[in-house]
């Protein structure tokens, strides 16, 4: 197995009496968008802080880009948008980026064009000479994104990157994340905006009470595809339905067939009609990430 971008084993973090993380095993491959999901207080931000060396693990360990947790030099290759995105209010957006370029060791002739590139990418080039103190939360978050993307880092850690953005902003951020992945970055997306994660992530881990309660690709988590059909006047003999798959009929007239490939949905509808059934509604019955998430979080004590 090749080295992962991030690998942790039995990572543990205790604050006083509170166990923030309990034996966390995480593996993030290079070049993927990895979603870290979980309710508030689940331990997502603690994971991020341990990965960046902002806090020290109580137990266990791991590597980030091949270096042990807390390594200082590796931070040259990481971009980070904190959950509390606050930048020096007395600086202009351009000056904040210049400061971070200095801290990241970006000098020489490539510096100015790189700053211009991320300002443009985050959509704040026109306000680059305004002080950030006057920025809306959305603008500050865009600035944070520009800071995180300076010099195309190998690893980009985004903690709730769209929490302050309107729908247009969120869509922009999705494009920015896709573009960063296309340029070769590995991205950790820490979020409880499930729609965001569903649209962007290759792999997902659900953290709850400091532990991973589910992990895998989105397809793994969402389960098999299915269809729900609201139907009336169906004949008593339903044996023909077995050709499509196991079917279940609820009292409210919804018939669920699971598993069923999406391509076969029209055939199923045609067969129902041929057998005298009347179709009122068809709904792709694949569970949403939200259903899966709520199931996991509510079932785990």
């Amino acid at each position: 197995m090749t080295a992962a971008a991030i690998e942790t084993s039995a990572l543990r973090k205790v604050y006083g009496r509170t166990v923030a993380l309990d034996r966390l095993d995480l593996r993030v491959e290079h070049g993927e968008v990895f979603g870290l999901l979980g309710p508030n207080g689940a331990g997502k931000t603690t994971v991020v802080k341990l990965l960046l060396g902002l806090a020290r693990a109580t137990g266990g360990g791991g590597t980030v880009l091949g270096r042990p947790l807390g390594d200082r030099e590796v931070r040259r290759r990481i971009g980070y948008l904190p959950e509390l995105f606050r930048y020096q209010a007395w600086l202009t957006a351009l000056e904040v980026l210049e400061l971070h370029a200095t801290l990241a060791g970006i000098h020489g002739p490539a510096r100015a064009p790189e700053i211009a590139r991320v300002l443009d990418l985050a959509g704040i080039a026109s306000r680059s000479r305004d002080r950030t103190g006057g920025f809306s939360k959305g603008m500050q978050q865009r600035l944070g994104l520009a800071v995180a993307l300076l010099r195309d880092p190998e690893l980009v850690v985004l903690d709730e990157p769209t929490s302050a953005l309107d729908p247009v902003g969120r869509d922009d951020v999705r494009s920015i994340i896709r573009e960063a992945r296309a340029r070769g970055s590995t991205i950790i997306l820490n979020s409880h905006m499930l729609g965001e994660v569903e649209r962007l992530c290759d792999h997902v881990a659900v953290v709850h009470h400091g532990r991973i309660v589910a992990a895998g690709t989105l397809a793994d988590l969402l389960g098999e595809p299915a269809v729900r059909v609201r139907v009336s006047d169906l004949p008593a003999d339903r044996s023909w339905l077995a050709a499509f798959g196991p079917a279940e009929e609820a009292a409210d007239g919804w018939l669920t067939v699971r598993p069923l490939e999406e391509a076969r949905v029209p055939d199923l509808v045609a067969e129902i009609v041929a057998h005298g059934g009347r179709v009122h509604a068809v709904d792709p019955g694949r569970r949403s990430l939200e259903d899966v998430f709520l199931g996991l979080v509510r079932d785990t004590p």
Binding site: F85, W90, H100
Partner: protein, 288 residues
């Protein structure tokens, strides 16, 4: 340590103070107090001459007024140092500004030292400017020039830097308001312990005299204040004092017959370095 990053943080700190108008408010207040001092001393001298007091007596009077003015400045400087130093790390941690910075290859020690350097430059410059201005104005209106104005100003600046160092260090662990308040209390206690120690010396109460010495070792600000007085005290006062009970004069918190010993100055420098070291360790251990 990376000197380049320390300097980058120091210049950021100076820019912050300038941009947030703190510096200009401080300078404005200093100019206002210097104007007030000039006016007051001028009135005093005019009144004294009206009473046809001897010029030497007037000079002695003005010299003591100047020491009182310096005390006021030292208090204002200590307050400024406490309230600039305390939030320098604490409020960046509270607002989260520090998270994005420390996720870069920036050592916490570099951030801490950069903050200290920037603030120390501002405090020293402010002390030098406001102190020199006050001395110059007093000279202009009264003709009185203290014997060692540069020494007095240097001690004034050094004293504010020690207060700043305490505030910054406390701010690595305490919320900014608490760090500022504790610093001011410590500064006050240090001064009070110094006065108490002097009174004890004057009355020969040896065990109590140790309190003053211990306080000066723990927090050298009061010992450095003695250096300010020494730089301002005219020889004529020392001469008069020597003729009377010199030990009793020691009890006066606005009198110093000798400069702080070299060993004390060396200790004060070492003290700043030590406290900075403690601050770095505390900040490193802090969970963000």
């Amino acid at each position: 340590m990376s000197p380049r990053l320390v300097l980058a943080i120091a210049s950021l700190t100076i820019r912050e103070i300038a941009r947030r108008r703190i510096l200009w408010v401080m300078l404005g207040l200093s100019v206002a107090s210097v104007v007030l001092v000039g006016w007051g001393v001028d009135r005093l001298v005019t009144l004294a001459r009206g009473e046809s007091l001897d010029e030497v007596e007037i000079r002695i009077g003005v010299s003591q007024v100047l020491i009182m003015i310096a005390f006021m400045f030292s208090f204002v400087l200590a307050m400024s140092a406490a309230f600039l130093g305390a939030p320098a790390i604490a409020s960046d941690v509270e607002t989260g500004t520090v998270h994005a910075m420390l996720a870069r290859p920036l050592r916490r020690a570099d951030l801490f030292l950069g903050r200290w350097l920037g603030l120390a430059v501002v405090m020293a410059a402010y002390a030098a400017l406001s102190g020199s201005l006050a001395i110059a104005v007093v000279r202009l209106v009264s003709g009185h020039a203290p014997p060692e104005p540069a020494v007095a100003v240097a001690f004034l600046a050094f004293q504010s830097v020690t207060v700043l160092t305490v505030a910054l260090t406390l701010g690595t662990r305490l919320p900014s308001i608490a760090a500022g308040a504790v610093t001011v209390v410590l500064f006050g206690l240090g001064w009070f312990a110094g006065v108490l120690g002097n009174v004890a010396v004057a009355f020969g109460a040896a065990p109590l005299a140790g309190v003053g010495d211990a306080a000066r070792i723990l927090l050298p600000s009061d010992g450095l204040w003695r250096g300010v007085i020494y730089g301002l005290e005219p020889p004529v006062v020392l001469f008069v004092a020597a003729g009377r009970n010199a030990t009793a004069m020691q009890a006066n918190p606005f009198f110093a017959s000798s400069p702080p010993p070299f060993a004390f100055i060396a200790w004060s420098v070492a003290w700043v370095v030590l406290v900075l070291g403690v601050g770095i360790v505390l900040f490193r251990r802090r969970e963000l």
